[in-house]
């Protein structure tokens, strides 16, 4: 089982190492999505974990002066993001890590943020379980994610697209908000960024009492 998981993680890392070269040009779409990202990321407070930092396109939208740990599974992505990390006016640390097996202690973060992450992890439920584990009770979950549309035609289009994008490590038709709720997060706010496909989602890990 572990061997299979290790192999899967290695293949995910390889895919993203390859995609790193053209990622900024074709997929980051910062011009359009930038303001919505910035508004969401402003809510990062306390010690924050940013999952899947990629080439660091999101770093320019991080609020200044924060303490942030950013992870990515791809070494190449982190290498490309390094110059952007140096320009950040706060404490920003990079760690090469897998979202499915976070190398951090339980309840060690006040905020966990994702940006187009849940479309790319092989097991989103496990990723959410890990986020739930490392987030302190009452901690914030901020997600900028694309999901399957509820509209039948758009949903079918996203299903069709997934047939092509899956081999590049991206699933276009995931129900990320529902998965977060199923794992135990309380969703407090959902804003549409593009139709009901790209969403800015705010949630929290409920305190036990």
């Amino acid at each position: 089982m572990c061997r299979v998981q290790c192999k899967m993680r290695a293949s995910v890392a390889t895919i993203w190492d390859k995609r790193a070269r053209l990622y900024d040009t074709f997929e980051a779409s910062d011009l359009r999505r930038g303001p919505a990202r910035e508004l969401l990321f402003r809510e990062m407070t306390g010690k924050s974990l940013f999952i899947a930092v990629g080439t660091g396109m999101d770093i320019r939208h991080f609020p200044p002066g924060r303490e942030i740990v950013a992870i990515d599974i791809s070494e190449e992505m982190l290498r490309r993001a390094d110059s952007r990390r140096r320009n950040y006016s706060g404490q920003l640390q990079f760690v090469r890590a897998d979202a499915l097996k976070l190398c951090f202690a339980d309840e060690s973060f006040d905020t966990v943020t994702t940006s187009c992450t849940m479309c790319s992890v092989p097991d989103p439920q496990q990723a959410f379980r890990e986020i739930h584990r490392v987030l302190r009770p009452g901690g914030k979950l901020l997600m900028f994610e694309h999901v399957r549309s509820r509209n039948p035609i758009l949903g079918l289009t996203l299903d069709l697209m997934t047939l092509f994008t899956r081999r590049n490590g991206t699933e276009m038709n995931r129900r990320t908000v529902e998965t977060a709720i199923a794992v135990g997060f309380h969703i407090t706010n959902v804003e549409t960024v593009f139709l009901d496909i790209i969403l800015a989602v705010r949630g929290e890990k409920l305190s036990e009492n």
Partner: protein, 150 residues
Amino acid sequence: MEKDTVPTKQDGSDDLAATARFRALIFNCGDCLFLIVVGVTATWIMHLVHHLGWHVVFTLLAGMTVAMFVQMLLARAVAPVLGSIESMVPSMVAAMIIPMMVCLLELAGVSLSSSSALMIGALGGGVIFILLRLYAIRCRKCLCAEYNAR
């Protein structure tokens, strides 16, 4: 399709809100124009395939396949500006639906000229843009009511 990105002003982010509004306007124009281009291209392709005189099923399949392939190339080309998902998803819907209109008209015995086929494509692209825009407004309200009241 972009107004939904316009942020609220509650955290004193007036500049960001103004930037977002201005960009939303520009991107809406870009989306509309792009869908019109895709609509025109898709109907033109289907119109050309019809001229080959194949059976209607083969015509439909071949026309839609080529139209969708070209649409993917176009969407890829504009993705750095309009956004990857923002360009690919609506244009794929346009490339699937609009060429069917040409086929339906041909089946109904209407012989389309090249210019009228192109007009149908442009109109189809515009209509899809408006429908998606309305859907975006509806989504914003529905999701707001569903989650934000909790």
